[in-house]
């Protein structure tokens, strides 16, 4: 239960083509993350799978059944919204039980499932409160509770953590990952945050302007990005791109080196530059460096690296960690 297939799915709002055509295979039990900059169509793609938007062209299959024209309720999916979309006039218990009530499940069975879900999500003490009386993280958990009681074939998450503060976001990230391990149900998760994508996903789908740029496991994308966009999007801080002479010497239009893949030295190296801002975090040192022959790059040194504003440093990219891109930005 829970495999989803998209066959050349296309979506246009009037004249504007948001998704020009997407093919995607999501296997049972996978945690798939759609990631991309805002406006790349990732939320639209999720809403197409949910059935909240109509597909302009193409097919959506869930467990081998064509559901392209089925209503959202018939698809057996559950969704967690960015705003949580809890029903404000109902108690937490009624919120969680709502989908079961709509499915005309008997009262006793409903209560059992609500208790079970509340147990998993640590909500047992809050069942009689209204959503307005809960904190952001608790509301998020109620929204997830409302999704899991239905025992759907897949969960859809639409940027669920973007309304939470940074500390809570990290906690909820771990909780959702643990929930996935516990339930082993397919999950599709939309985010613009590549850290969320890297930490949670079994499979990342990188989108840009409605097109899939690359699909793969987090480390596959990290190790072998298909193009400049994926290279720049995955990893933090972003990959540095160097064009011109240095790149031409390596037979590429541009080379990409991640900040963590430089050997740094104060005496000699392939690329020389001047330190701008130096961020000493103790565990890492991030240096913003103006290279002599052009671009501004960021390099990371492990541990403490005693240089300051205005000092000269020399950088050498690590062997085998240099990504080469051609004129069109594709990896060579």
């Amino acid at each position: 239960m829970g495999s989803i297939t998209l066959k050349s799915v296309r979506k246009a709002f009037g004249e504007v083509e948001v998704i020009p055509g997407v093919d995607l295979e999501i296997n049972e039990g996978e945690f798939v993350v759609f990631v991309g900059p805002s406006g790349c169509g990732k939320s639209t793609l999720l809403r197409l799978i949910a059935g909240l938007e109509d597909v302009t062209d193409g097919q959506i299959m869930i467990d081998g059944k064509n559901v392209t024209d089925a209503s959202p309720a018939k698809r057996g999916l559950a969704m967690v919204f960015q705003s949580y979309a809890l029903y404000p006039h109902m108690s937490v218990r009624k919120n969680i039980a709502f989908p079961l009530k709509m499915a005309k499940m008997p009262e006793a069975e409903r209560e059992k499932r609500v208790q079970h879900a509340a147990g998993i999500l640590n909500l047992t003490d809050y069942l009689d409160r209204r959503p307005g009386q809960l904190s952001g993280g608790q509301r998020q958990r109620v929204a997830i509770g409302r999704a899991i009681v239905r025992e759907p074939s897949a969960f859809l998450f639409d940027e669920p953590l973007s309304n939470l503060d940074a500390a809570l976001r990290v906690n909820m990230r771990v909780e959702i990952s643990e929930l996935h391990k516990k339930l082993a149900t397919t999950m599709i998760y939309v985010t613009h945050d590549q850290v969320e994508a890297m930490t949670m996903a079994d499979k990342i789908v990188v989108l840009r302007a409605g097109r899939i740029e690359q699909v793969g496991s987090p480390l596959e994308l990290y190790r072998s990005p298909a193009n400049r966009f994926v290279g720049g999007f995955i990893g933090s801080p972003n990959m540095n791109f160097i064009e011109g002479e240095v790149a031409a010497k390596m037979g590429a239009h541009a080379i990409g080196v991640r900040p963590e893949h430089f050997h740094m030295s104060t005496s000699d190296g392939l690329l020389g530059g001047t330190v701008g801002v130096a961020e000493h975090l103790g565990s890492d040192t991030f240096l913003h460096i103006d290279l002599d022959n052009g671009p501004h790059i960021i390099a990371r040194a492990e541990g403490e690296f005693p240089v300051h504003h205005g000092d000269r440093v020399y950088l050498t990219p690590q062997e085998g960690r240099v990504y080469r891109f051609d004129q069109n930005g594709l990896a060579i």
Binding site: A50, A73, A78, F81, A85, P88, H89, F98, P99, R146
Partner: protein
């Protein structure tokens, strides 16, 4: 400035307004109360005398008294029923994106801008008139006998006219409530398998409950005092069939020139309004928390 000084200063500064409002309310109320205990008739204005409870007794034993209270309640409830149900229905309809939405919305709201006597006269002479009204034309087209609305269903006719006037108000308030309903909540309910009807009863209606309460409370205040529509159409008749309490007071004061009796009626109307208010707050006031 310390909190206590701020508070007493604030009290001092709002005192004139509050005192003025209090005078504005207490003086007429006090005078009405005073007149209600006097024998005071404009046909012999020089001879006023203490009447005790006579005016109340007289007003109470008026054959139209209980009927007028009953009519008042029927009028209020009838108009509330039509405007709230109709308002929800129209709000749901014009909330959907349609061609010419702006114009449709203005048209829907426009009855509210017509003065009550004008609206009532239009209804009386152009719509409900048994020989050349629109309803009569429709009835004749189908070969039926035209209904003489104000003779056969006087109170219902008044209710229809007043409801027509207040429908825009209800629609407007309920439409804004409807528009503030979170789209993601609706989508969540859709994914939860709620049918359109279930979404309406479980989501839309509870969301609008506060607006419905506001509509009911505000309209009740105004509907207890409906008068102009009755004056220009049925004159309270036939018999007392469309006389409400306000109109009964008008009769006492302006047709019988009995200031004392009218004042007693006014006090009774105030008491009735308070009783209605208590019931209303019990019934729907909790939605306002």
């Amino acid at each position: 400035m310390a909190t206590r000084q701020t508070q007493s200063l604030a009290r001092l500064m709002r005192a004139p307004a509050i005192i003025l409002l209090l005078i504005w309310m207490l003086v007429p109320l006090g005078m009405t109360l005073y007149y209600s205990f006097l024998n005071y008739n404009l046909l012999s204005p020089g001879t006023t005398s203490w009447a005790g409870w006579f005016n109340y007794q007289y007003f109470y034993t008026d054959p139209a008294f209980f009927q007028s209270i009953w009519n008042t309640l029927v009028l209020v409830l009838g108009v509330l029923l039509i405007t709230v149900c109709g308002g929800i229905a129209i709000a749901l309809l014009i909330d959907k994106p349609i061609f010419g939405q702006g114009i449709v919305r203005i048209l829907v709201i426009s009855p509210f801008f017509v003065m009550p006597p004008v609206a009532a006269l239009i209804w009386k002479n152009m719509i409900m008139h048994p020989s050349y009204g629109v309803f009569a034309d429709i009835a004749k087209f189908f070969g039926a006998t035209p209904v003489d609305w104000f003779a056969q269903y006087p109170l219902l006719s008044i209710i229809l006219i007043v409801a027509w006037q207040w429908l825009p108000f209800a629609t407007l308030i309920l439409l804004t409530a409807l528009q503030s309903l979170d789209g993601e909540q609706v989508e969540a309910a859709e994914m939860d398998g709620a049918s359109a009807f279930a979404r309406f009863t479980h989501l839309t209606l509870p969301h609008m409950s506060r607006a419905i309460t506001v509509v009911i409370l505000i309209q009740t205040i105004f509907l207890l005092g409906v008068y102009a529509e009755i004056l220009v159409t049925t004159n309270g008749g036939p018999g007392y069939a469309s006389t409400n309490l306000t109109y009964l007071i008008y009769r006492a004061a302006r047709l019988n020139f009995d200031i004392g009796g009218a004042a007693a009626g006014g006090i009774i109307a105030v008491i009735l309004a308070n009783i209605v208010a208590i019931f209303l707050m019990r019934a729907v006031g909790k939605n306002l928390d």
